[in-house]
Amino acid sequence: MVNVFTWLGRHIRLAVQFAFTLLTNGYMAGFTKGTIYTGATKFACVPGLNCYSCPGALASCPIGALQAVLGNRDYKFTFYISGFLLLVGALLGKLVCGWLCPFGLVQDLIHKIPFVKKIRRLPGDRWLRWLKYGILVGFVILLPLFAVDVIGQGQPWFCEFICPSGTLFAGLPLVGANADLQQTAGGLFAWKVGLLIGLVFLSIAVYRPFCRYVCPLGAVYGLFNKVSLYRLEIDHDKCTRCGACRKACKLDISVFEQPNSAECIRCGACKKACPNGAIRSTFERWTKERKRQDGRV
C-alpha cells in the first residue's frame, strides 16, 4: 500500500489525469451499447476537450457547445459558454490542459513510446503556434456563425473537419459498436481517422503537437495564464538563470523569463528541475504563507 502512495506521489499529474478522465466519462454502458448518455449533467461542460458524443461522456465539450450555440439561428453570441470559459480560465488558465484534458492524457501517454529521436519543436514552430488561434477564430467562431444553411443554421466546423479527440473518443467507439453508423461512414470519417493517425504518430516524436498547434480550447485558456488564480512565480533572488527549467520543459518555454507563457500547460516539470527552488505556484505561496501565519498564532 505504501508503494501505491509513493507511486501516486511521484505521478500525481498522471493520476489526476486518469481519475478526471474516468470521472467525466463514466457511462460505461454507452461503450457496450454504442449509445451516449442523456442525463441532466449534459447541461454542463467539462473544462477539457471531451466530445459530448463520446459514449462515456457525462457532460458537454466547451468547444462543441460553443459551436452549437453560435450555429443556432437564434443566437449570435453565447453568454453561457463565454462565461464558462471566463470562469475556468480565470481560475486555472491552461492548467486544465496539463491536468484535466483527456486528449492531453492520450498525447502524454503516446509520447512515452520510445523513438529514435524526440523532436523538441517542429520546423516553423514559432509560426505554427499561431495556427490554433486561426482555428479558434475561423473554424469555431466565424464559420459556424456565418456559413449557414437556408434556415440559418451553422455547422460545428471544427468538430466536423478537424477534432481528433472526437474521432478517438466518439467516432471510433460509436462506429465500432453501431452497425447503422458503420454503413453511413464514408470519406469524412476516413479523413478524420487519417488526421488522428497522423497526430498519433507525430505525438510519438513531438510532445503534444495537437495542444501546441491546433487546439482552440487551449488557445482560449492560454490567454488567461498571465492573470489566472493559478500562476507561476519566479523568486529572482534564488534564480541564477541557469536554464534548467527550459531544458526540462517539453514545450520549450524559457520559464525563468516567461513563467506564465500562453503555451505553458502547468505540468510542473520546471519546478522539479529548478536546482534552487526558484519556481513556485501562487497556490504554494499561499499555502506557505498560511502555514507561517498559523505558526505565529
Binding site: 449534459k42 458524443s53 462543441g64 450555440v69 463565454s82 462565461g83 471566463l86 460545428p156 479523413w191 488567461f224
Partner: protein, 48 residues
C-alpha cells in the same frame, strides 16, 4: 498593469464568468447545449 490589479484580475474575470453563465441560462443557451449533447453528433464523429 499594477501587481495589485494583476493579483485581483482573476476575481473580476471569474465574477464576470458567473454573471455570463446566469445570463446564458436565462437566454435558453443551456437548453441548446443540452439538446445537442444528448443526441449523437454526426458531424463530431465524422459521419457528416
Amino acid at each position: 498593469m499594477t501587481a495589485r490589479l494583476k493579483n485581483r484580475l482573476w476575481l473580476i474575470l471569474a465574477a464576470a464568468g458567473i454573471v455570463f453563465i446566469i445570463v446564458g441560462v436565462m437566454r435558453g443557451e443551456a437548453q441548446i447545449v443540452f439538446t445537442k449533447a444528448v443526441n449523437i453528433c454526426l458531424e463530431c464523429i465524422g459521419i457528416g
